[in-house]
């Protein structure tokens, strides 16, 4: 049975309730989303781009949808027991799909970080021009999100404003029963503006399954710069289907990093359209998939303008029964000359039951380009381990050091130094099976070889 059916039935029965608790601009797009879903199906395993994990099965369980916008309790302090030290941010929270303000009142004039509903009142043109316009409704996941979303977050940085410190949004998925949260994030960075954004995903739930259906829309104006770092530290019961749709104008820069340390099943789609000339795009990915984690990252980067530059680097460490998948496509449109696009995916398979699937793709319709991709899958260098053991380093420590060195290409490329340092610590803890939320635990984080858990 088509798993979309239950959501369509739910919507048809509760359309008025959903609309009553949402901003008009969100309601305006629902009829089109409903029409788009009439014949749609969610991609199943084996569909193009869904080689190891379909998303249809993720939507199958009977999740609760909080259409009445009942308040759901969440501990907003818990994620900060391992906060990023030495990094001051403008902070906000999102519990399931409801925005909670942190320290955003001190933002510079004209900058908006708040709920989509508030943004629609304050900047109606900006929201109406971009909401559910950048992400296409012919994508079933986007259409479903547009059909059911009742709020979300909007980040708007007006022309020429350069934010002095990063904006941090802590997403908390909370509930004692299976819940689906339709998260929307709209980011509009006007011409010549600059912003950095940290997104942290956490789950506080004892429910057997929780689902995040997230759609992020990004418009980066001419000569603007946006850096987004998205860190997931959720639970094995969390299913996350997240897609980012970005448009880059002339001379703009977009850096995106996605880091998955703990999760259940995660599907991240990154769609970047480098529309203008002279764009710069960097997509980074780091994943540690152990136990039965599934991390499935999919990128589509389309160069439409002249002299675009892009670089993609995705690294996976996969152990136990983990599954890692990277599908990346670089497309250079006809006439997009002088493009330089590079893509690299490197993976370490640590156990006989782990699996890695890699599919880097180039689709080039213009001759005056330099494009390359590389993919390698292997193990830690036995000679290097032997060398270290000869010098008195225990094998477990030697392995840890080599994996850290392997992953450091990604963490070193993160251009917020305090975050890069913190991510190195977090990856080390993760590799040593020390939980990130370690405020109350007795683990000796400086000795990951023999953590006292």
């Amino acid at each position: 049975m088509n798993p979309l059916r239950q959501y369509l039935d739910f919507y048809d029965a509760n359309a008025e309730l959903i609309a009553a608790h949402a901003a008009p601009v969100l309601n305006d797009r629902r009829p089109e989303a409903r029409a788009a879903l009439r014949e749609a199906t969610l991609p199943a395993k084996g569909a193009p781009g869904y080689d190891i994990q379909g998303i249809d099965t993720l939507f199958e369980p009977d999740y609760g949808i909080n259409a009445s916008r009942l308040s759901i309790a969440a501990d907003t302090l818990e994620p900060f027991r391992c906060e990023v030290p030495n990094l001051s941010t403008w902070l906000g929270f999102q519990v399931n799909d409801s925005y909670i303000d942190g320290s955003m009142r001190q933002l510079p004039d004209g900058v908006m970080v708040g709920s989509l509903g508030d943004a629609a009142r304050e900047f109606p043109d900006v929201v109406a021009r971009h909401y559910a316009r950048i992400a296409p409704l012919d994508d079933a996941q986007v259409a479903l999100s547009t059909l059911l979303a009742q709020d979300g977050i909007c980040i708007y940085v007006p022309r020429g404003v350069k934010l002095a410190k990063p904006v941090q949004i802590v997403n908390i998925l909370s509930g004692n029963v299976p819940i689906m949260a339709s998260r929307r994030l709209l980011i509009v960075i006007d011409d010549d503006a600059e912003a950095q954004l940290l997104l942290c995903d956490h789950t506080q739930s004892s429910a057997p399954a929780m689902l995040i259906n997230e759609v992020v829309e990004v418009a980066v104006g001419a000569r603007a710069a946006l850096h987004i770092y998205d860190l997931e530290q959720s639970t094995p019961a969390t299913r996350r289907v997240a897609s980012l749709w970005a448009r880059q104008a002339e001379g703009s820069s977009l850096h995106h990093g996605t880091v998955t340390l703990t999760n259940g099943i995660t599907r991240n789609n990154l769609h970047v359209a480098a529309c203008g000339n002279d764009t710069e795009t960097r997509l980074l990915g780091l994943a540690i998939a152990k136990e039965r984690q599934v991390v499935d990252n999919h990128t589509t980067l389309v160069h439409q303008g002249l002299r675009g530059r892009s670089n993609q680097l995705f690294k996976y460490f996969v152990g136990d029964e983990g599954r890692g998948s990277f599908i990346g496509r670089v497309k250079v449109a006809p006439g997009a000359a002088k493009v330089e696009a590079y893509q690299s995916n490197k993976n370490i398979v640590a156990t006989a039951t782990a699996r890695v699937h890699s599919k880097p793709e180039l689709e080039i319709y213009c001759d005056d380009v330099k494009c390359s991709h590389g993919s390698s899958t292997g193990q830690l260098d036995a000679d290097a381990i032997f060398y270290m053991r000869q010098r008195g380093i225990p094998e477990a420590m030697a392995r840890m050091m080599l994996v850290q060195a392997f992953l450091s290409d990604v963490t070193d490329a993160i251009d917020i130094p305090a975050l890069a340092t913190r991510l190195r610590q977090l990856t080390e803890q993760r590799l040593g099976n020390v939980k990130a939320l370690c405020g109350d635990c007795k683990a000796d984080c400086h000795n990951p070889i023999n953590p006292k858990q």
Binding site: V349, A350, V356, E363, Y365, K370, Q379
Partner: protein, 490 residues
């Protein structure tokens, strides 16, 4: 071609690029020869008719009928990066045979017109004139015309004949191996071929025998309104070696002709098979009219330990190419290789690559693919490397480069890498670019004209693959590469 402002423009480079890819297909003549063709259309009765005309045993008829039933339930694969116009499978004749009074026991029995055709193509049917020392099975339309050197090869126990003859003379061998590597379940075109295959070549190399000469099959489509569905089966027994060459051409016609072939190779313990192809089916004219649709399933099974199968292909022809020669590396320590140069020009489309399936321990595979796109063509590499959970210590290296000559063509790379094992090392790298202007400038500085410089660079680019071809084919392939690209570099 565009140039940097601070560099001198090579003399008339745009014109040269056009010149290099505008040459005509030189093998497009037709042969006026009486041909028996069955009516167009495909149904169970047609399958039975083909089997009856060929005097086949009951098991083979059943093999065909099973495949036909499967094909009826299948749909055309659409995942390739190809725009395939609708094909009316009921508008094709599935059997065409040059009319001969009797089976050609000697050269005198062959129609002189047909002999002239193969002479024009440079295919040695006369053994006394065949200086190349190459045994040839010549296949026109649906049937084998003549196989040379059969007796000499038979002295070593080598069987080299048309598959129709093999079915009659060595039924046990054919029945044991036919369809074991490429099943009719495999894909739409494999099922179609299994139902209607007309002829092809059969090779058996006995234990411990190293085949003293290159074996070769030359395929020629001649009749209009027909498709060609040949099937090749090569079995290399323990400790044997054979090098096999395949060439093909077709007349220039406005219609699109269908070619759906199967090649199956089985290499037993320590056996080695080297399979080389120079594919030069008619590619259509410069406006994209006509040309052969080439849908081929080629697969080798390295069944024995330490066996080796090597595919080398130079793909220059066909309007559409859909072809993925692969290796199933089942024996421990077995080796699979794939070397390919695929050239597309004008409106040609190619989606070609390989599959390396690692099932045995310590198996190794190497993939080197060089794509060259010109005109308005689209050229895709699609390759799969799969390492099974129980296959320990496997190794793969893939290199995949694309060269773009012209701003209206496309070059694409779609690798699939699946690793289910913690001892495998799999590497893939790919690059896409145009001809380096610095290299042309370097040659110009040393008095080498731009056209020659481009030829040098393209040949150098493809050299890694060309070196893998047997010498007899390497020269032909190199010439073909130059001719195919004539007028296109830009």
């Amino acid at each position: 071609m565009t140039t940097d402002n601070n560099k001198p423009t090579p003399p008339d480079s745009a014109g040269i690029i056009n010149d290099v890819t505008s040459s005509d297909y030189k093998w497009g003549f037709t042969t006026d020869i009486a041909t028996d063709i069955i009516p167009v259309g495909l149904n169970e009765e047609v399958v039975r008719t083909i089997s009856r005309l060929k005097g086949e045993p009951e098991w083979l008829l059943q093999f065909r009928l099973d495949a036909f039933k499967r094909w009826e339930k299948m749909t055309m694969p659409r995942w390739a990066h190809l725009e395939i116009p609708p094909i009316d499978f009921q508008a094709i004749s599935y059997y065409a045979a040059p009319r001969q009074r009797k089976a050609p026991g000697s050269l005198d029995d062959i129609d002189p017109e047909m002999k002239r055709t193969f002479d024009r193509l440079g295919i040695p049917l006369e053994e006394q004139k065949a200086l190349s020392g190459m045994a040839v099975d010549a296949v026109m339309d649906s049937v084998s015309v003549r196989t040379t050197y059969r007796e000499k090869l038979a002295e070593l126990g080598i069987i080299f004949c048309s598959i129709s003859e093999a079915v009659k003379e060595y039924p046990d061998l054919v029945q044991r191996y036919l369809g074991k590597v490429v099943s009719s379940r495999d894909n739409f075109f494999a099922a179609l071929n299994s139902a209607v295959f007309s002829d092809g070549s059969f090779v058996y190399i006995p234990k411990g025998v190293r085949c003293p000469m290159e074996l070769s099959t030359y395929f020629r489509i001649n009749a209009s309104g027909t498709g060609q569905f040949e099937r090749t089966l090569i079995v290399a027994d323990d400790d044997s070696y054979v090098s096999y060459l395949e060439g093909c051409t077709a007349p220039m016609r406005d219609e699109n002709q269908l070619h759906a072939a199967i090649v199956e190779i089985i290499a037993e313990t320590r056996a080695e098979v080297k399979y080389s192809t120079v594919q030069n089916w008619y590619p259509g004219d410069k406006e994209g009219r006509g040309g052969v649709y080439n849908f081929v399933t080629k697969r080798g099974l390295c069944r024995g330990d330490h066996s080796k199968i090597s595919w080398t292909q130079v793909e220059t022809g066909s309007a559409i190419t859909w072809k993925y020669p692969g290796c199933v590396l089942a024996g421990d320590g077995s080796i699979g290789e794939f070397y390919s140069v695929a050239v597309t020009n004008n409106h040609q489309q190619a989606d070609t690559g390989t599959k390396m399936i690692h099932l045995g321990n310590n198996t190794r595979s190497t993939i080197v693919s060089k794509g060259i796109s010109a005109g308005r063509s689209q050229n895709s590499y699609r390759g799969q490397v799969h390492v099974a959970a129980k296959a320990r210590g496997c190794r793969n290296y893939t290199q995949c480069d694309s060269l773009l000559l012209g701003d209206s063509c496309g070059a694409h790379t779609f690798p699939y890498i699946d690793v289910h094992n913690d001892t495998a090392v799999v590497e893939h790298e790919a690059t896409t670019s145009k001809i380096n202007e610095d290299q042309i400038f370097y040659c110009n500085q040393r008095g080498i004209p731009t056209e020659d410089a481009i030829g040098l660079i393209v040949n150098g680019y493809a050299k890694e693959v060309m070196q893998k071809l047997p010498m007899e084919f390497a020269v032909e392939a190199q010439k073909l590469l130059q001719i195919t690209l004539e007028g296109s570099i830009g």
